[in-house]
Symmetry: D2
């Protein structure tokens, strides 16, 4: 999955570039669209199964900054699919140049008690 | 209620000043602390009564911008208390100078159906 | 100008709906795209002219909340164009239903001293 | 450095917990206050030296989620100080329980060309 993301004032900071945590928000958008394309609506998924995806671990490298009004391309790819967690590899690019890359590990948890949960068959199939 | 708010990079934009919508987030902090002081924990309130406060109307005037590392003072005062809504008057100041002011109207709604709800007696008493 | 906006977790709050100030961020995206379409790149505009658009006044009405994964349509239209300010009327809709509407007044200011500035001829022509 | 951070609606998402990228914003607050205490005002520092701190690398582990109205304690400690970069170790805790921990590597860059810059003597002394 690869989505276009425009940089607006709301994404930048007084350094004149995109605020570092905002790239993680861009990446969340790409993950959500990947899930949408696989037929998983996160809102309905949470209600139906009582399960939430929680970010469990992040490893991010920032190579170059994005600036106001840049048109970026943000990708998400599942690189590991376990029983209770999955890892996305994600890249933010501008005209083919790598700006930021990250490995984002998500764990599935029960909504109420926040305990680890097994990924439902339906979701596993959809992500393959 | 009056709370101190420091301006960090996360609050600013590439214009070098605080992003306009972020002052509304500062104001939400002051409203929450006013409710906390009145003994209302919004999280528990939502669970116990199944009720949510929703912003219904906003009127905001921006006079001067705040900048990185400024120390601001943000106030919240209830100026009108109706059966199903209340109005806060809020000000963002720096060294006594008015930067932003707003009237924020909140309505109480049922969490599930998002229908207007009457303000519970307990809350009405607490806010008086 | 009318842009599609998907609602992601980053836009929502613990009330299960879009955080009220986030609709203003959605609206900023639509204004920026209107300016882009008129040939105004805000980043370059700020550098070339030393001028910034600042939000000066906001009047917002919230009718219905948007939820996770909703696909919204956000519009921006210039309804008043003065010598030093302009007013946008903006609407957030879902399937033709009005969720939030706002009048957003912007003033043009000199970047350094934050003093009101006259809208350049080039910009005035572009916005007509 | 250790600062108190209250969780407001603006920090949470529809999962009922703090949005994962928002902990990084909390950590930025603690780093800024550490620098303030060391006599470094980031805004003036950027203007005087033409230098910016950019986040260069992030490694984050999420152990437990924070919820609406929680009172958190967020710490920042310099664990490595190089010629052109420094590493902060940061923790988000609630009542002594570790919720999130991160190593945040910052690089100093020239504001215009975004090229690596040597940390000024003044700053090195202040951080020791």
């Amino acid at each position: 999955m690869r989505i276009p993301v425009r940089v607006y004032y709301q994404d930048t900071d007084a350094g004149g570039v995109v605020f570092h945590a905002q790239y993680l928000a861009f990446m969340e958008r790409a993950r959500s669209e990947l899930l949408n394309e696989a037929g998983i609506d996160l809102g309905r998924f949470a209600e139906r199964h009582g399960l939430l995806f929680m970010v469990h671990e992040l490893a991010v490298k920032y190579h170059r900054p994005a600036r106001l009004n840049d048109m970026l391309s943000v990708s998400a790819e599942v690189v590991k699919l376990g029983h209770a967690s999955l890892v996305f590899r994600q890249r933010v690019e501008r005209d083919g140049e790598l700006l930021v890359e990250a490995d984002v590990t998500l764990a599935l948890v029960e909504r109420g008690r926040m305990r680890p949960a097994r990924i439902p068959e339906e979701l596993e199939q959809a992500l393959k």
